[in-house]
């Protein structure tokens, strides 16, 4: 063979090999031939809207990439939440992209659901509606969640057209007791807002304002404005209640009392205040009447009736009376019906006596949820519907079968053949499954409207995404159902616009666009004054001598605690919320019953034993979780789980605590109780493994979650950054900067950082309330896999931020919440052990994980003292259409790859882009990671540690600054500030 022949053969051979290779065909890759004018591929658009995951009504801005919403953040202009969002708000995305979302209208034929075309579905609905309306007035019943004015008006018009009663607004957490208390003490049957930020001493009688109460994001922020350590001071917060909720865990002092005894304590405080001569500016008749009512509440009587510790009670009274700007919050929804009313009245009276001007109560910009009807009226509507021969029941985003006790008989009403139920739900939840026709309407992220969380503002909704469904807006649907089938679209936008024009919130088309762009009209209205009017009716609950709380006997008392994660259950089908472990128990996916360790021992139970709890109304089976933070007579279970339907993430998971509650309502307030007295506890003989994510709640003498006493901070022994030894507690703080290197302790030279950028974070443990918003925001931003209950049990959860819950070693009864994410060490143990340089020290100090390089030796996580690295044990399941939510700027990691917090490097890169365009450096605070962005209490701060003027750098100078396990000389770039503990 000569050279030419060889080359020919070689050439043909390699060509044929090359031709033989075909790559995998890309499926469904289409180019955007006609892109919308305002869409640039790769650039997000932001749409301002309003969060409708709970009645608080926080403003959001929704990030839209290539037509789909991929992230929601708080609207910084919005007065309710000022740019922050809780975990439920973050998880709103999993509503629109829920894999179990209904896809078409459904009709029930012979007990089976059948898809039906919109035209026929509407015709059927119209036929039933006209039939019912022609049979007589008031045959159409509309039960809705608390809605915005436009939707409300549309519903009212519809009901008028049907000659029926106005819609009944049902909220499971309706605050009836608080409204009734406000009515009798202040003459206003509404829900005033509390200026918690202006108080110096705050006393809560059960209000879980850091979790669900009224407006948790707003109150979390305000609470830390008052309670966060600043300039050598911080406010005081006492929480009185039978169990340690997240709110109680954040109190300076939690006073455990027997269930339902909050009112006794409040009356006791009232007694002491009046005895000290407070309330002298009150009208004398009022003062005397209150004084007389409070007379039996001597310290001894209070202590014996409530079981409160006398010393703690005395201290609380002393500090409350010494306060300059005291504020008292009433009962949350976690109390009994009658007890809740009494506690709220007593709290109101206490506010009145301590400050007759009620300067820290805002009676004008009241919470919108006050328009919800009392539970009594909700029951009434259902009862009335059941009594009609031909009734149509319309349900808008309510789930009464789930959230009302079984003994209320909602299920039976819906099952009656005389009641034709039309549900507007997007999910086959416990109630929708009993309906006769489902006409799904658009979800809040897909529609126009407005919803103001409190009076005095306008907060608009607009579609933030392309449409996944052909569902109509509720306003359009109601018009169509009411007008005989003529087409109608764009009603929601039109009606919203017209309503705002009428109310002069919007002056014209141009102004409308501005308003929609910024998410509403937030100019504060002129200050109006409010004069309270006192009614002596308020003293009725206290007329019969000492108020007796529920449990006079030895039986156990069960409380349904409003859930930070699922609210009243409407978050139950969001996998992020289920995956995030409860802040107190650290159990994910499940809702165990909290039980006092003494009760547990006396009943011979072990953690995870399934017990059957039976009350007069119902029974449930749940595993037990031992927790010392509750009264020994209490059993507590968080709400939100135990759905019979509601999709794969909710169905059959856990138990529903609402089923145990009494259906009876308080005769005065008309509200329900969330406390079931006299429940029976019986072991079922079975066990289950709790999906807990924590190892130990104690710190075992390590330098992890630290606190410092207030007195040590000023005047006490100074904290020297350059301590005297190499032991765990005196090891000096070593910043991840060249100055943090010392030849005595470091072998290797410091890293050089490009352009003087060295990213770092400061976590103020004094401000962290453990709410977990950061963690869920991180799931949304960084495409983190959801692993499910079984994998959590196996220890495979993927969360990049864990909220570690530790007991304070100096005050064992107190908890410290410690957000733990990658520490981006300058001297990172993970980097040196990887054989392929997958963990890589970036030029700006970031500890980058290069997914493409990773071969999965898992040595890095073994060597990470903070255990923040997460391995992809499997390919995680993301059923369609959840992948539409994925952030295109972040890689979706495959199985076999290590991952971890990146400080949202994609955002840093984007900020570099902005800075480069303008030929400048990145400004301090210009970009923050998703966790920092959403933290309701500003516990997290992010910035450039190399810049001496940056906020994080100045915070590092704080004497409270330390590094977790800093003595390992890893030089972490996450600096923690100790929690400040006050002596009381």
């Amino acid at each position: 063979m000569d050279r030419r022949t060889f080359l020919k053969i070689a050439g043909i051979g390699s060509l044929s090999v090359a031709v033989g290779c075909t790559g995998n065909d890309e499926e469904n890759l289409y180019s955007l031939v006609h892109a919308p004018d305002n869409m640039v591929t790769g650039k997000p658009s932001w749409y301002a809207s309003t969060c409708r995951e709970c009645p608080a009504g926080c403003g959001i801005i929704a990030k839209n990439r290539e037509g789909r919403v991929i992230k929601v953040e708080g609207n910084p202009l919005h007065p309710v939440n000022r740019g922050k969002l809780c975990m439920r708000g973050q998880a709103a995305l999993q509503g629109v992209y829920n894999p179990d979302r209904i896809k078409t209208p459904l009709v029930k034929v012979d007990g089976q659901w059948r898809p039906i075309a919109w035209k026929e579905a509407e015709a059927l609905a119209r036929e039933r509606l006209t039939g019912a309306a022609s049979d007589g007035a008031g045959n159409v019943f509309f039960i809705s969640e608390v809605a915005g004015e436009t939707t409300l008006a549309a519903m009212q018009r519809f009901q008028e057209a049907m000659a029926a009663a106005p819609p009944v607004l049902f909220e499971p957490f309706g605050y009836e007791a608080l409204k009734a208390a406000n009515a009798v003490t202040f003459g206003l049957a509404g829900l005033c807002r509390y200026r918690i930020d202006q108080a110096d001493v705050l006393v809560g009688f059960g209000a879980d304002f850091l979790e669900t109460w009224l407006s948790p994001v707003e109150y979390s922020r305000k609470f830390k404005e008052m309670h966060g350590y600043r300039d050598g001071r911080k406010g005081l917060f006492f929480h009185v209640g039978p169990y340690e909720s997240v709110t109680a865990a954040n109190a300076d002092h939690w006073l455990p009392v027997s269930p339902g005894a909050e009112a006794v304590i409040a009356m006791g405080c009232l007694h002491e205040a009046l005895a000290k001569g407070r309330g002298d500016r009150l009208p004398s008749n009022v003062r005397e009447a209150v004084h007389a009512a409070a007379a039996p509440y001597t310290e001894a009587a209070v202590c014996s009736a409530s079981g409160v510790d006398a010393g703690a009670y005395r201290t609380m009274v002393k500090r409350l009376l010494a306060a300059e700007r005291p504020l008292v919050l009433g009962q949350g929804v976690g109390g009994g019906a009658g007890e809740g009313l009494a506690a709220n009245i007593a709290a109101n009276l206490l506010n009145l006596v301590l400050d007759p001007d009620l300067a820290r109560l805002d009676f004008i910009r009241r919470h919108r949820v006050e328009i919800a009807h009392a539970r009594r009226e909700v029951y009434g509507a259902f009862r009335e519907a059941a009594g009609r021969d031909n009734a149509v029941l319309l349900l808008n985003n309510v789930n009464p079968v789930y959230s009302l006790p079984a003994s209320a008989g909602i299920r039976e009403t819906l099952e009656r053949s005389s009641v034709f139920t039309i549900s507007f739900s997007n999910f086959m939840d416990d109630t929708a499954v009993l309906a006769d026709l489902i006409l799904p309407t658009r979800l809040p992220l897909e529609r126009w409207g407005e919803y103001a969380g409190h009076h005095g503002i306008v907060s608009t909704l607009q579609p933030a995404m392309g449409r996944l469904t052909d569902f109509p807006d509720l306003c359009d649907l109601l018009v169509r159902l009411g007008n005989g089938g003529r087409r109608s679209s764009g009603q929601a936008r039109k009606q919203t616009y017209e309503r705002l024009r009428r109310s002069e919130a919007v002056t014209g088309d141009r102004d409308w666009i501005n308003v929609v762009q910024q998410g509403g009209v937030f100019t504060p209205p002129e200050e109006e004054t409010f004069t309270w009017t006192f009614s002596f009716d308020c003293l009725k609950p206290f007329s019969g001598g000492l108020f007796r709380p529920v449990d006079a006997d030895e039986a156990l008392c069960f409380a349904a605690a409003p859930s930070l994660r699922f609210f009243d259950g409407r978050g139950g089908n969001r996998s992020w919320l289920a995956e995030f472990p409860d802040p107190i128990t650290k159990v994910a996916w499940q809702a165990p019953v909290w039980i006092h360790p003494d009760t547990m021992t006396s009943r011979g139970l072990k953690t995870g034993d399934l017990v059957e709890i039976a009350s007069d109304s119902g029974r449930l089976i749940a595993p037990v979780y031992p927790f010392a933070g509750l009264h020994p007579k209490m059993l507590v279970m968080t709400t939100g789980q135990g759905h019979a339907g509601f999709g794969r993430y909710a169905k059959g998971r856990g138990a529903n605590p609402f089923q145990l509650l009494p259906a009876a309502v308080d005769p005065v307030a008309g509200g329900p109780g969330f406390l079931a007295a006299g429940v029976k506890l019986a072991p079922s003989g079975k066990r289950m493994v709790l999906a807990h994510t924590d190892g130990s709640k104690f710190q075992h003498g390590r330098k992890i979650a630290m606190s410092v006493a207030m007195k040590d901070l000023h005047g006490g022994p100074g904290h020297d950054h350059h301590g005297a030894g190499f032991g765990m507690h005196e090891f000096p703080m070593n910043l991840p900067l060249p100055e943090g290197y010392d030849p005595h302790q470091d072998v290797y030279p410091p890293h050089e950082h490009r352009d003087d950028y060295r990213w770092g974070m400061v976590v103020d443990l004094d401000r962290c309330i453990g709410c977990g918003a950061c963690s869920v925001a991180c799931y949304a931003e960084n495409n983190i896999g959801v692993v499910g209950e079984q994998r959590v049990i196996e220890g495979r959860e993927m969360s990049w931020i864990h909220i570690e819950r530790y007991h304070d070693p100096d005050h064992m009864e107190k908890m410290i919440f410690l957000p733990m994410m990658c520490q981006h060490c300058d001297n990172a143990p993970c980097e040196s052990v990887c054989p392929v340089y997958a963990p890589h020290h970036g030029k700006e100090g970031l500890n980058n994980q290069i997914y493409n390089r990773c071969i999965g030796t898992r040595y890095c996580v073994q060597n990470c003292p903070y255990k923040v690295r997460r391995f992809n044990w499997f390919e995680w399941d993301r059923p369609h259409p959840l992948p539409l939510q994925l952030n295109p700027d972040v890689t979706v990691r495959m199985r076999g790859v290590m991952e971890k917090c990146s400080f949202c490097v994609q955002r840093i890169k984007e900020a570099h882009g902005w800075a480069k365009n303008e030929n400048r450096r990145i400004r301090d605070g210009e970009m923050v990671p998703a966790c920092v962005q959403t933290c309701p209490t500003d516990a997290l701060a992010f910035g450039n540690l190399a810049d001496k003027e940056s906020r994080v750098r100045r915070m590092v100078e704080d004497p409270r600054a330390y590094q977790v396990m800093g003595y390992l000389n890893t030089k972490p770039a996450v600096i923690y500030l100790r929690k400040v503990v006050q002596e009381i």
């Binding site: 924590d694 190892g695 130990s696 709640k697 104690f698 710190q699 075992h700 003498g701 390590r702 992890i704 765990m728 994998r791 196996e794 220890g795 495979r796 959860e797 864990h802 570690e804 819950r805 530790y806 410690l818 733990m820 143990p829 040196s832 052990v833 990887c834 054989p835 392929v836 340089y837 390089r853 990773c854 071969i855 999965g856 030796t857 898992r858 040595y859 996580v861 073994q862 060597n863 003292p865 903070y866 255990k867 690295r869 997460r870 391995f871 992809n872 044990w873 499997f874 390919e875 495959m894 199985r895 076999g896 790859v897 290590m898 396990m965 390992l968």
Partner: protein, 438 residues
């Protein structure tokens, strides 16, 4: 050495190469089936993900690395026996040297599989190879895993060459008696060995140099493996005692494995005259010594943890002894330190039943030693919130079973097709003039 003659030795050893009975093939088939089962488990793991095993956060290393260290440990005594004892002129090593070396080579091969099985993305394992590439990246030679690659591959190369070199004269002996295809194969394998004086002179020199070269590897390989842990900062790992501790442990387990393999071999192949009871007794005596060394290491670790006054170390060892894995800890301590003490009694040293039982127990104990270290360290590390437990799954056990089957399959294939006792060295030892044995 009693009444052995060169002819007797040749006959005894060459008899083992006679066509095996069906029983042998039945055993081989069972072992092959076990191996294939393990392979199936591995393929399943590659497709589904490492999660089919029991590893989790915080225990990201499980049975795969336990078995890796276990087999590397087993691999140690082969070279110890053939090289170090050769240099020390310990003549009692001659009858077991070949089998021990064979065990070494196969054990290193088995061990070498585990890091691959362990990898999350095994198809990218070539990222660890240092060669110029378009990725412009070089492996990280500060990683102990890279040390491992170098150390293990060196060890495999040297021990395989050493093993083969030692076999050449024996292969020639077989060749001389073989016929047909076998003759051709053994001719090829024996590299034209004729037994000329020149060949012997070079061979003896070469073998000696190999022995000298292999000796440091005995120390270095397991020292390097121990640095996988010693260089980590995990409490319970981060200790300077790890290198000698691991080497002693490796020899301990290797000697036990030699006994476990030799006793049945001796019985099946009628090697009673060659592998005498004195040989086994000497191995048992050495096991007493290594048992004491590992016992010292256990005690020393605990002492240092206490002496360091470091709450993390102290808690780590308190938990090791009394915590969730205390059973494993006590199995390890009893099997490795207490059980070998029975060898102080001559009756136990010379009874095959005792020898076999104790050697298996030591093997079990050494497996648990690796479990206690590899799982126990990270399970109870720095951050109490992250503490967790680990337990192997059926997939892991299947893979483990598969590799054990593979090892024994290779071993039985070897003993039926290659000289399992070094005829050359045995014959040398007969000549009292040349022997240093007595």
């Amino acid at each position: 050495m009693s009444n052995l003659t060169p002819a007797k030795i040749d006959n005894a050893v060459l008899d083992t190469l006679s066509p095996p009975p069906p029983r042998y093939w039945a055993v081989a088939a069972v072992l092959l089936a076990g191996t294939l089962l393990g392979l199936g488990c591995w393929i399943y793991q590659i497709y589904i993900g490492i999660g089919v095993g029991g590893q989790n956060n915080p225990v990201a290393w499980g049975t795969y690395l336990i078995n890796f260290v276990f087999w590397v440990g087993i691999a140690h005594s082969g070279t110890l026996i053939s090289a170090i004892l050769y240099l020390f002129r310990a003549g009692w090593r001659n009858p077991i040297a070949r089998a021990a070396e064979t065990m070494t080579v196969f054990a290193v091969c088995t061990a070498g599989l585990f890091p691959l099985i362990h990898l999350g993305r095994v198809w990218l394992v070539y990222y660890m190879l240092p060669y110029p590439n378009q990725r412009n990246l070089w492996p990280n030679f500060t990683s102990p895993l890279m040390f491992d690659i170098v150390a293990i591959s060196t060890y495999l190369t040297v021990s395989a060459l050493f093993w083969y070199t030692g076999m050449i004269p024996d292969l020639a002996t077989i060749r001389d008696r073989a016929v047909g295809v076998r003759k051709k194969i053994y001719t090829l394998l024996s590299f034209g060995w004729t037994g000329k004086f020149e060949q012997w002179r070079h061979y003896i020199r070469g073998y000696l140099f190999f022995a000298a070269l292999a000796t440091p590897l005995v120390i270095s390989v397991h020292s390097v493996v121990s640095w996988d842990f010693g260089l980590g900062i995990v409490p319970g790992w981060h200790s300077t005692v790890f290198a000698p501790y691991f080497v002693a442990g490796a020899i301990h387990s290797g000697l036990a494995m030699v006994l476990t393999l030799m006793i049945p071999l001796r019985r099946i192949f009628h090697y009673e005259e060659i592998i005498t009871i004195e040989v086994l007794e000497n191995v048992a005596k050495t096991i007493i010594l290594t048992g004491f060394i590992v016992g010292y290491a256990y005690a020393f670790e605990i002492f240092i943890a206490w002496y360091s006054f470091n709450p993390v170390e102290q808690e780590s060892f308190r938990w090791r002894i009394f915590g969730d894995y205390s059973l494993e800890f006590w199995i390890m301590t009893l099997c490795n330190c207490a059980v070998p003490l029975f060898f102080f009694f001559k009756k136990c040293r010379t009874s095959l039943k005792w020898l076999m039982t104790i050697s298996i127990l030591v093997n079990v104990g050494m497996w648990y030693e690796r479990f206690v270290i590899i799982v126990g360290g990270p399970a109870h590390g720095f951050l109490p919130h992250a503490w967790g437990l680990y337990g192997p799954t059926f997939i892991e056990l299947g893979i483990m079973l598969g590799t054990f089957c593979m090892f024994f399959l290779l071993f039985i294939l070897f003993v039926k097709h290659m000289p399992s006792v070094s005829m050359t060295e045995m014959k040398e030892a007969l000549n009292t003039g040349d022997s240093d044995a007595h």
